[in-house]
């Protein structure tokens, strides 16, 4: 029987995380969710007619910046600037947002396209969203397992994308 990491404990974690991310660090980004159904693709799977995004949402994130670089190749001078956005899953759940590769994040007037999504930080090794329930809605070995564990974060790595490639026009934010 699970003893630690019950939802009451997790509630405390959530309070601490939100205090930390909102009141203490207060780092925000604007999230553009890629709209797959609106975006048309050609026979090569390319969004040749342009990509569509859903309305932007403002969300708290811990942003990890790597050094900028300007490699030179046969096409000229590039600009590389990778960022890692660390979101609190609770915040994502509140706004019903599931990060996916291809989504775009605006951070200080720059745009970053997500390359990878990593959602594996589970407290006490359990994600309460997957309690392995049977037909009765309970875990056969341990009823109430959905009350334990914590899916803490969604960690997204992203590369810099020039705004002209996205054609996203800032309207309100």
């Amino acid at each position: 029987m699970a003893l630690f990491g019950e939802s009451r404990d997790i509630s405390m974690f959530r309070h601490v995380n939100r205090e930390l991310m909102r009141d203490i660090i207060s780092e925000q980004v604007v999230y553009y969710k890629y709209n797959l159904t609106k975006t048309n693709t050609n026979m090569y799977g390319e969004a040749s007619e342009g990509r569509y995004f859903q309305d932007p949402v403002l969300i708290y994130a811990l942003v990890e910046r790597s050094p900028q670089s300007n490699p030179v190749d046969e096409l000229g001078v590039e600009f590389n600037y990778a960022l890692t956005f660390r979101f609190l899953v609770d915040d994502l759940t509140d706004i019903e947002l599931v990060p996916a590769v291809g989504d775009v994040v605006m951070y200080y007037e720059g745009y970053w396209e997500l390359d990878s999504i990593n959602t594996t930080q589970f407290f006490v090794g359990k994600n309460p969203a997957y309690p392995y329930t049977d037909a009765t809605g309970e875990n056969p070995l341990e009823p109430g397992l959905d009350n334990f564990g914590y899916n803490v974060s969604s960690i997204c790595t992203a590369h810099y994308v020039p705004a002209d490639r996205l054609n996203i026009v800032k309207q309100r934010i």
């Binding site: 630690f4 939802s7 009451r8 404990d9 997790i10 509630s11 405390m12 974690f13 959530r14 309070h15 601490v16 995380n17 205090e19 930390l20 991310m21 009141d23 553009y32 969710k33 709209n35 159904t37 609106k38 007619e49 342009g50 990509r51 569509y52 995004f53 859903q54 309305d55 932007p56 994130a61 811990l62 990890e64 890692t84 660390r86 979101f87 609190l88 899953v89 609770d90 759940t93 019903e96 947002l97 599931v98 930080q121 407290f123 994600n127 309460p128 969203a129 959905d146 009350n147 914590y150 899916n151 803490v152 974060s153 969604s154 960690i155 996205l166 054609n167 996203i168 026009v169 309207q171």
Partner: protein, 399 residues
């Protein structure tokens, strides 16, 4: 290409179970039943102070700059405990200061609202053991018995004697009556012409205590006492041939009884050991230990501002301790992509030190008001005053 901002479509969201336990919002509203024991819930002053104390603690713990992961009921619990601890310390001090006067008192009294006047009951009880051993009182009986002497038999078994006389519980011989007549009978001679200092010689020949007194000389009482003691000592050391030896349960008589002693009785006094044990135990429904001294919880509205101030501080220390345990259940708290360590160890260390300091301060304060301390202070004041007065020059009156 134009703007690609479009309304959102349905996205697949995994809704996790989110039990959100509310934390301290900055204010509260106390209601009876909000404390674990409810000792003071109906006290209007307690009700009034509960929310103020909660606010005080919340602010002292960093709210609203920082979250305080506690609820109003945590503060109320700490508040109730602080009042109870204050009462415990206060009444434990009272019990310590008065227990000799309280042991044996009725448990039905309400000492919270009583003045305790010291009494000597238990001091006298303490003294009874000495009185009993000295044969001048006490709480168990002395009995007398005798063995019949047999010529040429020096040893007499007192255990066998006790069995013959159906006496159980173990004997403790208190006195063997082998003495001669009391020394007083040898002090005042009935015979004429003999001065007090030489009177013992008359007693020694067996005629003391008889006949009229014919000469009197007024002497101080101490003179008589000294003479009596001298006579007793002379009888025991220089004159008496009679003595005994008591080893285990065997009484050996000196000298060996002769044929003329046959049938005479040798008297002795004894007590029964079991009765001594029994005399030490008095079954009672009255106060017999510090746990049933009839003190109740304090009445909050009668605690003065000095006491309440202590209670508020102790409440804060307890709240700090609770918060420390809340923040410290897990060594680290996961945050996105990392972990943080909260200040639980600081909180618990500070709370422990503060609680200890507060208890020490309270006990010192109470101890300074103990009966002994107050009398000593009064004596010191008196001495100081007298010393001060001695500095005043004495006026020389010339008539």
């Amino acid at each position: 290409m134009g703007s690609k901002l479009e309304p959102s479509f349905l996205i697949f969201i995994i809704k996790t179970l989110m039990a959100n336990i509310p934390i301290w919002p900055g204010s509260s509203s106390f209601a009876p039943g909000d404390t674990p024991f409810g000792f003071y819930d109906t006290d209007p002053d307690f009700q009034n102070d509960a929310d103020k104390v909660a606010k005080f603690c919340g602010l002292r713990l960093g709210y609203p700059i920082e979250n305080v992961e506690l609820q109003d009921i945590n503060f109320y619990t700490a508040f109730e405990q602080a009042v109870t601890v204050y009462g415990n310390e206060l009444y434990a001090f009272n019990v310590r200061d008065n227990y000799l006067s309280l042991e044996g008192a009725s448990t039905g009294s309400d000492l919270n609202k009583s003045i305790i006047t010291p009494n000597m009951v238990n001091i006298i009880k303490l003294s009874e053991q000495y009185a009993a051993e000295a044969g001048t009182g006490g709480n168990y009986n002395w009995y007398s018995g005798s063995v019949t002497l047999t010529g040429s038999v020096q040893d007499y078994n007192l255990e066998a004697w006790a069995t013959e006389n159906n006496i159980s519980g173990g004997l403790e011989i208190k006195k063997v009556w082998y003495e001669d007549d009391p020394a007083i009978s040898k002090l005042y001679s009935p015979w004429a012409g003999i001065l007090p200092g030489a009177a013992s010689s008359v007693g020694l020949v067996g005629v003391a205590g008889y006949g009229p007194s014919t000469n009197f000389l007024l002497m101080p009482l101490s003179f008589d006492m000294q003479n009596i003691q001298a006579i007793e000592m002379a009888q025991q050391v220089r004159v008496s041939n009679y003595t005994f030896q008591l080893i285990n349960d065997k009484l050996r008589i000196f000298p060996v009884p002769g044929a003329g002693d046959e049938g005479n009785k040798l008297w002795f006094e004894y007590s029964i050991i079991d009765e001594k044990y029994d005399a030490s135990i008095t079954p009672t429904s009255r106060v017999n230990n510090v746990s049933n001294v009839p003190y109740g919880n304090p009445t909050y509205d009668q605690i003065n501002s000095v006491g309440r101030s202590w209670i508020f501080e102790y409440t804060l220390a307890l709240a700090k301790e609770i918060l420390g345990y809340v923040r410290g259940k897990y060594g680290t708290i996961p945050i996105p992509g990392a972990e943080v360590t909260l200040n639980q160890s600081d909180l618990i260390a500070a709370a422990t030190a503060e609680k200890e300091a507060l208890i020490t301060r309270l006990r010192d304060y109470f101890d300074q008001t103990s009966r002994q301390a107050l009398l000593e202070r009064r004596q010191a004041e008196s001495d100081a005053r007298q010393s001060e007065m001695n500095q005043v020059p004495m006026t020389i009156f010339i008539g």
